[in-house]
């Protein structure tokens, strides 16, 4: 098993992220050269398909299939890098930009050229001001080296990358809401279908990939999809950035293969619990993630549909018994009430009422009627909302009710 393989973090802290010379020296942009010299766009997409690369934003959609759908289209196409990271507890994409911005750019260039897009957007979280500057610098130096712009490395490919800074809305990480936001509208999700590969930005076929997914692509092009598909779990292979936080000895970001168990992550990578703290539960994948109790720690995490605890964004929050669960419930409910876009009633009203009930629970004023109402609201959020946001809002609160029995 190639346990120590590093795909995204291999150059972190070893090179100056702002100097393109450093990145080129350690083999940067070699994948782009290989793609331009030896591969057709079709072959590159096929390679990514062989790799079985799954979207790292949380949904785990096969990236190769998405690229293929748009590559086969004609006319103007767009590629969008989704860097609107706003899931609580998740800051992996910010770190990718901080530590290795050119790896991300190389991935964006290869993906865009592979689908025949001449214009790409990087949609970056509006709060990431420093990262926006880093990317501006990186794009300027990539242009000087002709990795971007007209006739990239004397080929017939052209590409322009535009940076689009978001304006503080969680929902804009959802791809159709993100498109709405670039188009100057409210960041509300659109009806799907049509999906973005059919009708995306400005009505044109569009691929939207997470920054971490994109950063894996140069490695796949250089080393082959077959090799990638042998790392980690068989259904969604590769490596993943895990963000460990909470009452854990060594918090931070770690790259490791997919398919690890929660126990491996907490005790082998994270160094176990902090001294004097008792494990209570772990939340997997941010505020919208499921709660895993002691008995579920052996669950292996990946992106497959039948995974008990989907890996999601890869964040693991470890909660010990001294944490006030009522505060956490108010935090979750408050977050989703604030971030609900307001487009559909079940979510707009449901998250708001749930927030009120959770506050009453914290203040010891919860009534039996509230408890029944909370169950109704959870069901409504899970089954009737316009986009998956409703399901996200309900997950942690339902688990607290059913697994932790707090109300």
């Amino acid at each position: 098993m190639s346990d120590n393989i590093k795909i995204i973090t291999s150059h972190w802290d070893k090179i100056d992220p702002l100097r393109i010379e450093d990145y080129v020296e350690v083999g940067g942009y070699e994948a782009l050269k290989k793609f331009l010299d030896y591969m057709t766009p079709k072959e590159a997409v096929a390679e990514i398909k062989t790799a079985k690369l799954a979207g790292r934003g949380g949904a785990g959609f096969p990236t190769g299939e998405k690229l293929e759908m748009v590559a086969s289209k004609r006319g103007r196409r767009y590629f969008i890098c989704n860097l609107d990271e706003s899931e609580p507890g998740t800051y992996k994409d910010r770190m990718i930009v901080d530590k290795s911005p050119h790896l991300l750019l190389e991935g964006v260039v290869i993906s865009s050229l592979a689908i025949g897009a001449e214009e790409a957007y990087i949609y970056i979280n509006g709060n990431y001001k420093k990262q926006l500057e880093i990317l501006e610098t990186a794009i300027a130096s990539a242009k000087q080296y002709n990795f971007l712009g007209q006739h990239i490395l004397h080929s017939e490919h052209n590409l322009e990358i535009k940076l689009f800074s978001g304006a503080g809305a969680y929902i804009c990480g959802e791809e159709t809401a993100l498109i709405n936001s670039i188009e100057g509208n409210r960041g509300e999700p659109k009806v799907r279908p049509p999906y973005p590969p059919q009708q995306g930005l400005f009505g044109k076929p569009t691929v939207i990939n997470n920054a971490e997914t994109i950063s894996s692509i140069p490695w796949i092009i250089l080393n082959g999809g077959k090799k990638y598909s042998q790392i980690g779990s068989s259904c969604s292979p590769g490596t993943k950035l895990y963000i460990l936080s909470g009452s854990i000895e060594n918090g931070g970001i770690f790259e490791a293969p997919t398919g690890l168990s929660i126990k491996d992550l907490i005790y082998n990578i994270g160094g176990g619990m902090q001294k004097g703290k008792d494990f209570w539960f772990a939340q997997i994948g941010g505020a919208c993630g499921r709660l895993a109790l002691e008995g579920e720690l052996k669950t292996n995490l990946d992106f497959s549909r039948n995974c008990e605890c989907p890996l999601g964004s890869g964040s693991i929050l470890v909660v010990d018994k001294s944490v006030n669960i009522h505060d956490l419930l108010v935090s979750w409910a408050g977050f989703f009430a604030r971030e609900s876009c307001g487009k559909c009633v079940p979510c707009r009203e449901g998250t708001f009422r749930l927030y009120e009930i959770m506050k009453r629970l914290r203040d010891g004023e919860i009534s039996d009627r509230d408890k029944i109402a909370a169950k109704d609201i959870l069901w409504t959020l899970e089954n009737t909302t316009f986009c998956p946001f409703g399901k996200f809002a309900a997950t942690a609160i339902r688990d607290s009710s059913e697994k932790l029995k707090v109300f």
Binding site: N127, A167, G168, I182, V330, C341
Partner: protein
């Protein structure tokens, strides 16, 4: 002195430049007022309602004047686990205000969603300045610095 007209000229009158323009104007003048909205609408050839429709959606675009001292505390999962609510309570009692009250012209305190600095929580943003690892006891010193200025 920057004027709305000057800022608008930095942008193409295309729909994908509307949000960046709104953000810039809101950041420069504190919020997007009705007069500016009229100028933005005519520049982008869209109705004024559309300007407010988009502007009112985003956290980083404001449509009402902000208070003299604005404080934002991240109340998302990780910051709460490390004690964000205790910080909020301290600020509330320090100024004798309530979180979420928008009617005080001098000070405002609001809960905000994750700012992507989860390793360094609790996070408090005061007049745009980010403070990390704030605790219920360290917040006093920070606030007093702002009151002096």
């Amino acid at each position: 002195m920057q004027s709305t007209e000057k800022i608008l000229l930095e942008f193409d009158p295309e729909s994908n430049e509307l949000l960046p323009a709104l953000k810039k104007i809101s950041a420069s003048f504190g919020y997007v007022n009705k007069k500016d909205a009229r100028k933005i609408a005519s520049y982008f050839s869209i109705p004024r309602s559309k300007v407010f429709e988009t502007a009112s959606f985003y956290d980083l675009v404001s449509v009402r004047p902000s208070a003299g001292l604005t404080m934002q505390v991240c109340s998302s999962t990780n910051c709460v686990v490390s004690g964000a609510f205790a910080v909020i309570k301290e600020i509330e009692s320090f100024f004798n205000i309530k979180v979420g009250d928008k009617n005080n012209p001098n000070v405002s305190l609001e809960e905000v969603s994750c700012l992507g600095r989860c390793g360094e929580g609790p996070i408090v943003v005061i007049n745009g300045q980010v403070h990390t690892n704030v605790t219920a006891s360290s917040i006093h010193g920070i606030l007093e610095k702002y009151l002096k200025n």
